[in-house]
C-alpha cells in the first residue's frame, strides 16, 4: 500500500506525545499515512507554516486556531481544531525569591489551592508581578487571567504578562526577569532543577479539564482532504489510547526520550507522564491526578463549549463582539469531523457536542452512543459554570 505523505508541525513539549507515538508505533502507517513530524522553533513559526501551507497539520495551543480564525495576531487564517490532543499538563511556578516572601506571610505550598496561592502572592509583594507565558494565545495565559482576576486584591496594574519561549523560562526566572510563570512540561520541572523555582499549582487546579493542545489544519485543506484528516484523527486517537494506559508509561517515556523528537532526557519527561511532580528542588515528588490527560474522560473530543469558553476570553481581551466570536469559535472546533473519523472504530461518543463547562464535580456517566461514557470532573476553582448555549 502506498502511504500518503503528510507533514505535521510540533513544538518539543511532552504533550506532543500523541503525535510522536502515532508515528513511532506506526499507528499512522496503519491508517495509510506516512507521517513526518516537523519540529518548529516557536508558536509564531508553527502558525505561519500552517497558514501558508508548508505543513498539513499542527500541534497547537488550543486558543490558537480560534484566535487565527478571528483574525487576531500576525497571520490570520481559517484554522480548524480536528481533535483535542491533550488536557491539562501545565504548571504555575514562582521564583525562589517570591516563594520566600510568600512563605513569610504564612503560606504553605499544598500544590492544589489557587485561592490560597493568589492571596499569598498579593500579600507577599506590592511590586508588579512579572509573569512569563509561552504565547499570548495560550491556555496558560487564559487560566492565569481567570485565576488572578478573581482574587480580591487583584488589579490589572499588579501583574505584567510577558511572553518567554518555554526553553528560556528557567533562565529568565534565574536572571530575575520573571517572578512567576506558567509553562508546559518539561519546562516547569527544568525551572525547579536549574533555577530553584517552586511550582505552586498544576494548571488543572484552576480548571480541572482544560483543553491544552489541539490538532489544527487549514479549513480549505480539511475540506479537500477529508480521508486524510479522518485517517490522521484515527491514528492520533489510537496513540492517545495507548498513552493513557499506565502500563505503557515507562515505554512511552523511553520512546519519547530515545527518538530525538523532543531532545530531552528521560527524567525531564517522566513527571508529566506519571503525574509525580517535584515542586521544589530536593523535595519528594507529589502525585497529581489527571496532571496531563491524553485520552480519559473523552479528552480527545473537541467540545464546542470549550471553544466557546476560549472565545469568551478572547472577546473580552480584544474587545470583540462576544456572540460573533463565539460563533466563529464553535465553527473552528470540529466534533462533526471527529465523529465521522472514528465511526469505523465504533468509539463511544457523547450524545451532545457541547456541555456546561464546570458543572461536573465528579466523574459522571453521561448519554453516549454506546452508553459507557464517563466525563469529568471539569470544575473551575471558583465553582463557576460556563454554559456556551446561554452565552449566545
Amino acid at each position: 500500500m502506498t502511504l500518503t505523505h503528510i507533514e505535521c508541525g510540533y513544538l518539543p513539549l511532552v504533550d506532543s506525545a500523541p503525535l510522536i507515538i502515532a508515528q513511532e508505533l506506526r499507528f499512522a502507517a496503519e491508517e495509510g499515512l506516512d507521517l513526518s513530524l516537523i519540529r518548529q522553533p516557536s508558536w509564531s513559526a508553527l502558525r505561519d507554516m500552517l497558514a501558508l501551507g508548508h505543513i498539513d497539520f499542527a500541534h497547537m495551543l488550543s486558543p490558537l486556531p480560534i484566535a487565527m480564525s478571528l483574525g487576531l495576531g500576525g497571520m490570520p487564517a481559517q484554522i480548524d481544531a480536528l481533535m483535542v490532543l491533550s488536557v491539562n499538563g501545565t504548571v504555575i511556578g514562582v521564583s525562589a525569591d517570591l516563594d520566600a516572601k510568600m512563605r513569610a506571610t504564612g503560606w504553605v505550598n499544598s500544590f492544589d489551592d489557587p485561592k490560597i496561592v493568589g492571596q499569598a502572592i498579593f500579600a507577599a509583594t506590592s511590586n508588579r508581578v512579572r509573569i512569563g507565558v509561552p504565547f499570548p494565545f495560550s491556555m496558560h495565559r487564559m487560566l492565569l487571567d481567570y485565576w488572578l482576576a478573581r482574587d480580591p486584591n487583584f488589579d490589572a496594574d499588579r501583574v505584567e504578562i510577558i511572553t518567554v519561549p518555554p526553553p528560556q523560562m528557567a533562565a529568565a526566572v534565574k536572571a530575575g526577569a520573571l517572578d512567576m510563570f506558567c509553562v508546559g512540561e518539561p519546562w516547569g520541572t527544568v525551572a525547579v532543577q536549574q533555577s530553584d523555582a517552586v511550582l505552586v499549582l498544576p494548571s488543572r487546579a484552576i480548571w480541572q479539564f482544560a483543553p491544552e493542545k489541539v490538532l489544527g489544519a487549514r479549513r480549505g485543506w480539511v475540506e479537500e482532504n477529508p480521508g486524510t484528516c479522518h485517517a490522521m484523527i484515527r491514528a492520533v486517537y489510537k496513540a492517545a489510547t495507548w498513552l493513557e494506559n499506565p502500563t505503557n508509561t515507562p515505554l512511552a517515556a523511553e520512546i519519547l526520550a530515545r527518538t530525538q523528537h523532543l531532545d530531552l532526557p528521560d527524567h525531564a519527561i517522566d513527571p508529566a507522564l506519571s503525574g509525580l511532580v517535584v515542586t521544589k528542588k530536593g523535595d519528594a515528588p507529589l502525585q497529581t491526578d489527571r496532571f496531563l490527560v491524553f485520552h480519559e474522560g473523552a479528552a480527545n473530543f473537541p467540545w464546542r463549549s470549550q471553544a466557546g469558553w476560549i472565545a469568551h476570553q478572547l472577546a473580552k481581551w480584544h474587545g470583540l463582539d462576544a456572540a460573533q466570536a463565539s460563533q466563529t469559535a464553535h465553527a473552528c472546533f470540529r466534533p462533526d469531523i471527529y465523529r465521522a473519523a472514528l465511526a469505523p472504530l465504533g468509539v463511544d461518543m457523547p450524545g451532545a457536542s457541547q456541555k456546561c463547562e464546570g458543572a461536573l464535580h465528579h466523574p459522571t456517566a453521561v448519554a453516549s452512543t454506546r452508553g459507557k461514557m464517563i466525563l469529568g470532573p471539569d470544575t473551575f476553582f471558583d465553582g463557576a459554570e460556563f454554559d456556551s448555549a446561554q452565552e449566545n
Binding site: P41, S42, W43, S44, A45, D48, M49, L52, H54, L72, G73, G74, M75, P134, F135, P136, I161, I162, T163, V164, P165, P167, Q168, A172, A177, H318
Partner: protein
C-alpha cells in the same frame, strides 16, 4: 557593527535620501550573521540599521530606537515575544504588526522560504517596505545556504573523526590494517542495512562504555 548605525553619505547620495530614512532594527544573536545583514542593507542604501541580540527588552528598544521595520530570523524563538509586543494595546506604545502582504503572496512565501520574518512598526507604506524585504530575503537566502554548507562540512568532519576512531579500535583489537578495518566496518554496515557512520558510532560508544 557600529559602522551600520551612522548614515553613509556616499550611499545616501547614490540612492536618494528617502530610502535611507527607513529605520531598521535587526534581532539576531549571532554577531557575524548580524554584520552580514547590516552590510547587505547598507549596500542597498539603508544605513540606519540597529542590531539587538535578543527580543527580551524589545518593547523598550522599540520605544527608544523608533524603528520602522524589525527583521528577525524565522527560526528565532524570540519571535513569540515579538508577537506578544505586536498585540499589546497600550496607546502610548508604537503599533507593531507582522508584515504579510496579502496582495503579494509570493513575497511572503519567499520570506518564509528564506527563513525571514518582518514586523512593521506604525504601518509604514508597503512600497517602502518591499525593497528592504527583497534585499533582506536575498541575504537571508544566501546566509542559510552558507549555513547548511557549513553544517554539512562540520558533520562530515565529525563523521570522519568517529570513523577514524572506530578504525583505530578495530585495528588494535583485531590486529588488522586500516584498509581491512574500513572494509570490515563497511561489510557490517551493509549486512545490517545501516550506514558506516552508525556502525562506527555504536562501536565508539561501546568502547567508551567498556573502558
Amino acid at each position: 557593527m557600529a559602522a551600520g548605525r551612522w548614515p553613509n553619505p556616499s550611499v545616501a547620495f547614490l540612492t536618494g535620501s528617502v530610502k535611507s530614512t527607513v529605520k531598521i532594527l535587526v534581532v539576531e544573536p549571532d554577531p557575524d550573521k548580524a554584520r552580514d545583514i547590516i552590510d547587505a542593507l547598507t549596500d542597498g542604501g539603508w544605513s540606519d540599521v540597529t542590531v539587538i541580540a535578543t527580543a527580551s527588552q524589545l518593547d523598550r528598544t522599540v520605544q527608544q530606537q523608533n524603528p520602522d521595520i524589525i527583521l528577525i530570523d524565522l527560526a528565532n524563538p524570540d519571535r513569540d515575544t515579538l508577537e506578544h509586543i505586536s498585540l499589546v494595546s497600550d496607546p502610548k506604545a508604537r503599533a507593531v504588526a507582522m508584515f504579510v502582504d496579502h496582495t503579494d503572496e509570493a513575497m511572503t512565501q519567499a520570506a518564509i522560504a528564506a527563513g525571514l520574518s518582518a514586523y512593521v512598526v506604525n504601518g509604514l507604506q508597503k512600497d517602502r517596505i518591499k525593497p528592504v524585504l527583497e534585499t533582506a530575503i536575498a541575504r537571508f537566502r544566501m546566509l542559510s545556504k552558507m549555513q547548511s554548507e557549513l553544517d554539512a562540512a562540520k558533520q562530515a568532519l565529525s563523521d570522519r573523526k568517529t570513523i577514524d576512531r572506530a578504525k583505530g579500535l578495530l585495528m588494535r583489537a583485531r590486529g588488522i590494517s586500516e584498509d581491512e578495518a574500513y572494509t570490515l566496518l563497511r561489510k557490517t554496515a551493509m549486512g545490517q542495512g545501516r550506514k558506516v557512520i552508525d556502525v562506527a558510532t555504536a562501536l565508539v560508544t561501546t568502547a567508551d562504555l567498556l573502558r
